[in-house]
Symmetry: C2
Subunit: 323 residues, 2 copies
C-alpha cells in the first residue's frame, strides 16, 4: 500500500497530488491515506502537504526500503520478496529461518545495521548504520550440492559487474574478496543446507562498505578495509548500488541455473588479481600455511597452486598475495 | 540417576539388592529410590521387590533407552550424549535443532517411532514402533564441506561392519543402500549445514528395518523392503545391533577424521554390488535416465560410469542394477 502511494507521488513528479485522487485510486478513505503518509514521513520520506493541493514528494530517504528497491527493479527472481529490517543481529540468521519456513527462491533480507554480523569463520564484521549494504539472498536452485561452492565465486562476479556499472574497476582475490588498493570492500558469507542429492537452500550474506571514510573504520581495520565511496571519490547511492547488484545477481544466477558455471568462472578469471601471483595459502581445516604460485581455478572453483612439491588444489582457505 | 540404578541392579546379577544399599550408594533417600524404580517399571523394566530383600532385575525391555545403549558401549565420540524419544515426527529434525543449539559431535537422537520420517528426496519411510532402529547422528567434523558427501558412503560401510558382527553378508548399492535379495534394509539420509570453508554440522539419519516380517510391510513395499530378522532367520536384538553400529560408526568416523576417506572407500568397494554391473542411472537434479556400466567410485565418492558416449561421473541420483 505504502509502495503504491510512493509510486503515485513519484508519478506526480514535482507537482502536488491530491489526497482524494490517491484515496480513489487505492479505494481507501482520505484519512487512511493521511495515516500512510504519516508513516512514510516517520521512515524518512519528506512529503509536504497542503489542504488544497494535497501531497508532494520532496525527498526520498537513502534507506534500503522494499518500496524503493523494488521500483523499476529489473529482475526475474531476485528481490521479488524483501524482508527489511532497521536493525538485526544477522541477516543470514533471518534468511536461514525464512528459507527453512518456505521462503521463495530469490528472497532478499536487508538490514540497515547488524549487531552480530559475522564474516567467514565467525569473524566479526564492521557495519555502521545506513552506511553499508547488509543483505542476504536466499537461493533454492535445482542444481546439485556439488555445485554450491561455486555460488560464492558467482557472487563475487555479480558484485564486480555491479561495480562496473558505477565505473569502478573490480579486483577479486580468491575466492571472493573484492579489494581496492589491497584493502577489502566486500565480505561474502555463503551458507548451505543440503541433502546429498539436493540443495535445501543457499543463503548468501553480502556486506558492502558503501559510504565509509577511511578514518571512520576502527584503527585495526584502516589498513585492511575500504569502501565504494573511497574508491569512487564521492558518495555512492546505496539504493542505486543495491539495485544494480540485485539485477546483476539475477542475470548471473539465471545463467548458472540454465547453463552452468563455465562462463561465470571465466568472468571470475577476468576480474581476478590472484592467478599468476606468488601467494601464501592458509588452508581451511587447520593445515599449515605454505607458499605457492596461484595457477588457475578448476571447474569446481578450487584454486590450483604450484608448490615445490608439485600442483595442489585448495578447496577453501585464505590466500595473501605476495607479488 | 536411573542408569546408575539399573547398573547397580545388574551388578547384583540375579540376586536381590537392598533399597538401602542403593540409597546409600547414590546418596538419596530410600523413598527416592522407590520412585525411580517405579519409573523404570513404567518404561518396561521388570523389577521384583520384596520388603526384606530389596529389588531384583528380572527383565530389560528391548527399548533403545540411553541407560541400555550406553552400558559398556565402546565408543570415543559417538553416543556419549543420547536424546531418546518414544515417538517423534523425525529424528533428523530434532538432530538439526540440537546441532544448531550446540550439541556435541557424536550426539545421537533415537526414536522408537517416527510419524513424519523421510527418506531421500522427501520420500516417506515405513517404521512400525519398536521394530526398527530410527536414529540420527550429529557430526561436527573438522574436515572440509567438500568431504561431506563421503559421509553417506562411510555410513553404509559402518552399517555393513555392524552386520558382519551378526554374521550377515552386506551388499551395498551405490551410494548407500543396503540390500538383501535386492530389497532394501536400511535407509540413510544425510543432511549438511555448512559455510564454504567449514562444516557447521552433518546429520546422518539412519533407519533400519530390524524385526519386521515380510508380510508386515505395506503391499507396495513387500517387493522392495527387507529386514535384518528376515535376513538372519530369527529376531535380532535392537539394542545389540544399535550398539554394534554405534561402535563401528565411531571407529570409521575417527579413521575419516584422522586419515581421510581412502581406506573407507576401499571398504565400500569390498561390500558393493554395483561396480562392474549394467545399471540404469536416474541422476538427481532432473536429468534423464540412462543406461550405463558402473566402473568405479572416484575419490569423492561419485560413481564413474561408462556409456556409449564415454565415461561420466554421477554425483547424486538413483541407480538400478540390471545384471
Amino acid at each position: 500500500m505504502r509502495k503504491t502511494i510512493v509510486d503515485f507521488l513519484k508519478s506526480g513528479k514535482d507537482k502536488f497530488v491530491s489526497g482524494e485522487e490517491i484515496a480513489k485510486k487505492l479505494g481507501v478513505s482520505r484519512a487512511a491515506v493521511w495515516k500512510h503518509i504519516q508513516e512514510l514521513r516517520k521512515t524518512g520520506y519528506k512529503i509536504s502537504s497542503s489542504e488544497h493541493n494535497g501531497y508532494q514528494l520532496q525527498e526520498v530517504p537513502d534507506l534500503l526500503m522494499p518500496a524503493e528497491i523494488q521500483t523499476e527493479l529489473k529482475t526475474e527472481i531476485i528481490g521479488k520478496n524483501i524482508s527489511y529490517h532497521i536493525t538485526t543481529d544477522s541477516t543470514n540468521r533471518i534468511a536461514k529461518e525464512l528459507a527453512g519456513d518456505g521462503a521463495a527462491d530469490g528472497t532478499v533480507v536487508i538490514s540497515e545495521e547488524q549487531t552480530g554480523g559475522k564474516g567467514r569463520l565467525g569473524r566479526s564484521f564492521f557495519s555502521p548504520k545506513y552506511k553499508s549494504i547488509l543483505m542476504s539472498i536466499i537461493l533454492k536452485p535445482k542444481f546439485l550440492p556439488h555445485d554450491a561452492p561455486k555460488c560464492t565465486l558467482m557472487t563475487a562476479v555479480a558484485v564486480a559487474n555491479a561495480m562496473i556499472r558505477f565505473n569502478l574497476k573490480p579486483a577479486i582475490k580468491w575466492p571472493n574478496d573484492l579489494l581496492f588498493n589491497g584493502r577489502k570492500i566486500v565480505g561474502i558469507l555463503t551458507e548451505i543446507s543440503a541433502e546429498m542429492s539436493r540443495i535445501n537452500y543457499i543463503v548468501i550474506g553480502i556486506g558492502i562498505n558503501v559510504n565509509i571514510d577511511r578514518e571512520e573504520f576502527p584503527d585495526d581495520l584502516q589498513d585492511i578495509a575500504a569502501s565504494l565511496s573511497e574508491m569512487k571519490g564521492e558518495t555512492v547511492s546505496r539504493i542505486d548500488f543495491l539495485k544494480a547488484l540485485l539485477e546483476e545477481f539475477d542475470k548471473i544466477y539465471i545463467e548458472a541455473c540454465h547453463n552452468g558455471f563455465d562462463n561465470i568462472l571465466n568472468q571470475w578469471r577476468k576480474y581476478n588479481i590472484t592467478l599468476g601471483k606468488k601467494i601464501r595459502v592458509l588452508p581451511a581445516g587447520g593445515d599449515e600455511e605454505f607458499a605457492a604460485v596461484a595457477e588457475d581455478i578448476d571447474s569446481e572453483g578450487a584454486l590450483i597452486v604450484r608448490t615445490e612439491k608439485g600442483r595442489e588444489k585448495v578447496y577453501a582457505g585464505d590466500v595473501s598475495i605476495r607479488g
